[in-house]
Amino acid sequence: MSQLIVVGISDYKFAKEPEVIVTYALGSCVGVCLYDKVTKIGGLSHVMLPDSTSFSAKDINRKKFADTALVDLVQDLKRAGVGNNRMVAKIAGGAQMFEVQPGSKLGAIGERNIICVKQALSQLRIPIIAEDTGLNFGRTQYFDLATGTMKIQSLNRRIEEF
């Protein structure tokens, strides 16, 4: 097996088969896998915040936000040879790690991230074909570019493949 390509928080990486990309311990962040099964090229974006528009545009890290990171990753994937209409998405994360009182904004971050990732993907016309989001636990997300499989590992839970 090849070396794992590790994606940190507020970052994305892309590669081609037989590589495996991983992002560790997604909490309220959302991990987005984009894949083209023809070229077997794909990318994984570890999105931290829903929306960049409330921040001053000049010095934001575009890889941090759902609305900017996914646009950029799609551009990079197209440059790497991925066809326009072939990309599909698998997403994971967006958990509510702490059980807080209803109405607390603390509990809503994961959900907001999921909503904004879905909006961004819909604007990019990329269908979501698998999803393991929400609930209250952390997830490590593996993305195998040979098969396009997303594998989710959590503490005290069975490994799930999508």
Binding site: Y24, A25, N61, M97, F98, L106, G138, L155
Partner: protein, 204 residues
């Protein structure tokens, strides 16, 4: 003028460090009271560090960790997260509540940890109040046991707008029968940091 943690001057970081020191002192006193024994503490290490470095210092992103989170608000706003390795959490609760055979933390032990996290969090907030005269109060504590990277993403997301650095306080409490290594991360809104600095007579 600073707009995120990266832009703090050395002197401003020293102020945060001092708050960390006083907070740790308060925390040691509080722990001694709960454990009913003398608790010494090491000089805490207070660092302004990146997310990844802090996660590595805690054993790596997937390490199973107990986290207690408290919000503070009032004249100053922010969040404090107290992080404890599961083994340490078990052994301190064995002393407080009594040993059991289970590998899991019982409900009772979990609420004990939550209370200790609450007391430690309050110790730091009281340090800020005492130094600055600001009126700050803490929320009820929230607890979760999961991968440390996933837990720490919660405050970093909440304060993601003020940069990717956080204040990381590492401290050893040495009791007569048990040692406890505590890690805390503290986030304050940038305006709160400015108010703290101003109150202490530093230029911002």
């Amino acid at each position: 003028m600073f707009n995120n943690y990266e832009e703090l001057s050395d002197m401003q970081i020293d102020v945060l460090r001092e708050i960390g020191n006083i907070g740790a002192g308060n925390a040691a006193t509080a722990l001694a009271t709960i454990l009913d024994e003398k608790v010494d503490m090491s000089v805490p290490s207070v660092k302004i560090t990146g997310f990844d470095e802090a996660v590595q210092a805690l054993g790596g992103a997937e390490t199973m960790t107990v986290a207690v989170l408290v919000n503070f608000s009032g004249d100053g706003n922010g969040m404090i997260m107290f992080l404890l390795n599961v083994e340490d959490a078990k052994s301190i609760m064995d002393i407080l509540i009594g040993e059991d055979d289970s590998d899991e933390l019982s409900e009772m032990k979990i609420s004990g940890i939550k209370e200790i996290g609450n007391i430690l969090g309050s110790s730091y907030v009281n340090a800020i109040s005492a130094l600055t005269g600001l009126n700050i109060h803490v929320s009820v504590p929230y607890i979760a046991i999961d991968m440390v990277g996933a837990l720490m993403s919660v405050p970093i997301i909440e304060f993601g707008a003020i940069g990717d650095k956080l204040m990381f306080i590492e401290e050893n409490f040495n009791g007569e029968t048990n040692d406890l290594k505590s890690n805390m991360i503290m986030f304050a809104e940038i305006n709160t940091l400015k108010i703290i600095m101003q109150k202490l007579g530093l230029e911002i």
